[in-house]
Amino acid sequence: MQINIAGTGDKRTLTVLDGAEVLLEADGLKLKDAQDLARKGLREGWDTLKAKK
């Protein structure tokens, strides 16, 4: 699994990949928010996050 946080400042883009499958994409995030969101996915599952979007 690859958790990528690109960009700078409060305009980070979070992309979570499982191989070629995109599990989650979100942008316009602060670094901490991107880390927190990905942590939530790790703990609760990516499908849960998608369902809440």
């Binding site: 699994m1 958790i3 946080i5 927190d36 990905a38 942590r39 790790l42």
Partner: protein
């Protein structure tokens, strides 16, 4: 140098047990993970990257995994073996050793067993090494539930672009000993009641640049074992 030979075998099992006549030490005595980085599969890992980074094998004797950050201060690359499979228990010792180097100091580096998390520099649970200063000073950390259950000790020093082995040993009773290059450099006690991680952990390591320059962590090997006895 003479060699000691055991042509009839060498066992760790009592003769009455199923493995009693097996001619090697019972491999199920411990649960372990070892990677010398002659091979690497990114799909075995949860890789958390700030900026850009693609960990990959690099040429060099011994098998080496190279992890290079991008060049914005705070950029990082962390690897955590999927799925977490090491829990800590009293009565069951555990060991960890890793040989690695960082290209330059003024680098934040972490290596050890940790819970899978997006911020390995500050996880809730684990027994691991952390270096955050330009001096290369290394801290050994034993942590349960973050700051409320964390104990640490200074236990080594990194030198830029120089391989070193950091290791720890949980004695299964109450103490974690920390080592650098086979020499004990620190110890924390009172672990069992307050600090022993209570969440399943995994092999974890990575690097963060603390300046606008890329940093590289080169990992020669990682070895961790937990007793089943």
């Amino acid at each position: 140098m003479s060699m000691t030979r055991f042509p009839n075998g060498l066992s760790t099992a009592a003769s009455k047990f199923p493995m009693g006549a097996y001619t090697h030490p019972d491999p199920t005595d411990e649960h372990g993970y070892f990677n010398d980085y002659n091979a690497y599969a990114s799909t075995d890992w949860t890789i958390t990257v700030v900026g850009t980074s693609t960990p990959a094998l690099v040429a060099g004797d011994g098998g080496i995994l190279g992890i290079t950050t991008s060049a914005t201060s705070g950029d990082s690359s962390f690897l955590q073996k999927t799925i977490a499979s090491f829990s800590f228990e009293t009565g069951k010792p555990a060991w960890f050793a890793a040989r690695f180097k960082v290209s330059t100091l003024a680098t934040t580096m972490v290596i050890g067993l940790q819970v899978i998390d997006t911020t390995p520099l500050d996880v809730t649970d684990g027994i691991y090494f952390l270096s955050t200063t330009a001096t290369g000073a290394v801290t050994g950390i034993c942590r349960k539930n973050a700051s409320t259950g964390s104990t640490s000790v200074a236990c080594g020093t990194l030198v830029a672009d120089t391989y070193t082995e950091l290791a720890w040993y949980w004695d299964g009773k109450d103490t974690v000993n920390f080592y650098q290059d086979k020499v004990q450099t620190g110890s924390v006690t009172g672990v069992a009641a307050s600090y022993l991680p209570d969440t399943t952990c995994t092999v974890s390591f990575g690097v963060q640049t603390d300046s606008a320059n890329a940093r590289t962590m080169s990992v020669d090997y990682v070895h961790t074992v937990k007793s089943r006895r």
